[in-house]
């Protein structure tokens, strides 16, 4: 198998790696680039959303994307939300609302929330539930996550 060269924009920086084409974006983020914020929780089936990243402005499961598909594209991971040292309003809202228990689904849920609010800054309860329907959480019962999204939405509209 020939290695492929992949150049893409990751969290605002041009990133270049050579790797086998059968690696997924999630494999490369975690194992080659040391960005372990995106999680593998369902075994790479695209069922749980723990590996969600933003791909050209849209939320996607990084376990369902071959690394070649990101050539020349823009990817934002959870690490890219707090580059200046301060937490992103969505991250702050998750902490404040108590939307984090074991934390495993949190990076994916935060990223999915950011993607939702970027597209729809004032989502209804139903739109929040739809926007996060691809992110499984086994601890919180979801209510606190919905509270966090509402809180973040208020922050968005104020700021």
């Amino acid at each position: 198998m020939n290695q492929i060269e992949v150049i893409f924009n990751l969290n605002g920086r041009e990133t270049k790696i050579s790797c086998d084409p059968n690696k997924t974006l999630l494999d490369v983020l975690r194992n080659d680039l040391g960005l372990t914020g995106a999680k593998d929780a369902c075994g790479g089936e695209g069922e749980c959303g723990a590996c969600t990243v933003i791909f050209n402005g849209k939320p996607v499961n990084s376990c369902l994307i071959f690394i070649g598909q990101v050539i020349g594209q823009n990817i934002t991971t959870i690490e890219g939300l707090s580059l200046k040292g301060d937490y992103h309003p969505v991250q702050k809202a998750f902490v404040e609302a108590g939307a984090v228990q074991c934390g495993y689904c949190t990076p994916g849920a935060v990223i999915a929330t950011k993607a939702l609010l970027d597209r729809n800054p004032q989502p209804s309860d139903q739109e929040i539930r739809d926007g996060l329907s691809g992110n499984l959480c086994r601890c919180t019962g979801y209510n606190k996550i919905v509270d966090a999204v509402q809180l973040a939405a208020r922050e968005y509209s104020n700021g």
């Binding site: 198998m1 020939n2 492929i4 086998d20 084409p21 059968n22 997924t24 790479g44 089936e45 695209g46 069922e47 959303g49 969600t52 791909f55 849209k58 939320p59 996607v60 499961n61 376990c63 369902l64 994307i65 071959f66 070649g68 598909q69 050539i71 999915a112 993607a115 939702l116 539930r129 739809d130 926007g131 329907s133 691809g134 992110n135």
Partner: protein, 289 residues
């Protein structure tokens, strides 16, 4: 995961050439193929990634027909005011696929090529008599969506051939177009049964034409022609649709699998048939007034 040679064409002519490589398989959104390759269910010595072929990502109103490029994502379909307007059933079906993460990647061409009996975009396209436009290095051809799908996971696509686009004709007159699905839960669910119908009403309020398709109840998405014949020419009524839902039970051959039993599917298909017909008639009456 097994290795493969990776090709990434940028134009349709490069795609034709790359796909003619022996053993080449096409990669669109990847939401089905990537996990299948990981599990070893799907293998490809050569994988042709279409993500640079922008010419296959379009929704076009060509007047007589609406054309969807094969690489149109479910999210783009769901968000399209044109599709909401001309094929509300397809719009609802696209919105019901998976979750936003998979809708932003999965494509209508991929959904059709997978030929799952439970595919959500197929019933609304089938009831619009959609036409497939295929291309390869050898040439191009068109055939109906109904002819295109041969069985579960099996289509008319030859090696080296790919779906360029799928098209359908917008409906005229007093019409309604509906899609409903039943899944195990409301998010991220594969259809246990899905149903789509179009109904036309004439000036007297009688059903002048109708098409009904049910998914996940037979080896392929099923056009229910006996049920269609039964209601044609009649005045819509609860009794008519109850009787129609009894007839559709006999047109389907569902199996028992991890998602539901055959009995549950037959019962649900009958209920959904009644509901899609009722809602389509409601829509048609609104268009009439």
């Amino acid at each position: 995961m097994q290795g493969f040679e990776y090709l990434k064409p940028g134009t349709i002519s490069e795609l034709k050439k790359d796909l003619s490589t022996p053993g080449a398989r096409i990669l669109a959104g990847g939401t089905d193929i990537v996990p299948k390759m990981r599990q070893g269910i799907f293998t490809a010595p050569v994988l042709v990634d279409t993500s640079r072929v922008g010419a296959l990502d379009f929704i076009e109103d060509q007047g007589k027909e609406v054309v969807l490029g094969a690489l149109t994502t479910h999210q783009k379909l769901a968000d399209s005011p044109l599709i909401q307007n001309v094929n509300p059933a397809l719009s609802a079906a696209a919105e019901s696929v998976g979750c936003v993460q998979t809708r932003c990647r999965g494509t209508v061409g991929g959904n059709i090529a997978n030929a799952s009996p439970a595919a959500d975009t197929i019933p609304p396209l089938l009831v619009y008599d959609a036409v497939m436009y295929l291309q390869s290095l050898e040439g191009e051809r068109t055939l109906s969506l109904e002819e295109f799908i041969k069985g579960p996971g099996s289509t008319e696509l030859n090696p080296g051939e790919f779906i360029h686009s799928v098209s359908f004709t917008p409906l005229q007159g007093s019409w309604g177009s509906v899609f409903i699905k039943i899944g195990k839960r409301s998010g991220m669910a594969i259809s246990v049964v899905n149903a789509s119908a179009v109904v036309f009403l004439d000036n007297d309020g009688l059903i002048s034409d109708t098409r009904i398709a049910l998914g996940a109840v037979a080896p392929t998405v099923k056009r229910c022609r006996e049920t269609e014949k039964f209601i044609l020419g009649n005045e819509p009524s609860p009794e008519l649709f109850n009787n129609a839902s009894e007839i559709c039970r006999k047109e389907i051959t569902p199996i028992t699998d991890i998602r539901a039993s055959d009995k549950y599917r037959i019962h649900s298909a009958a209920v959904l048939t009644r509901r899609v017909l009722e809602q389509a008639v409601e829509q048609a009456r609104e268009r009439k007034s």
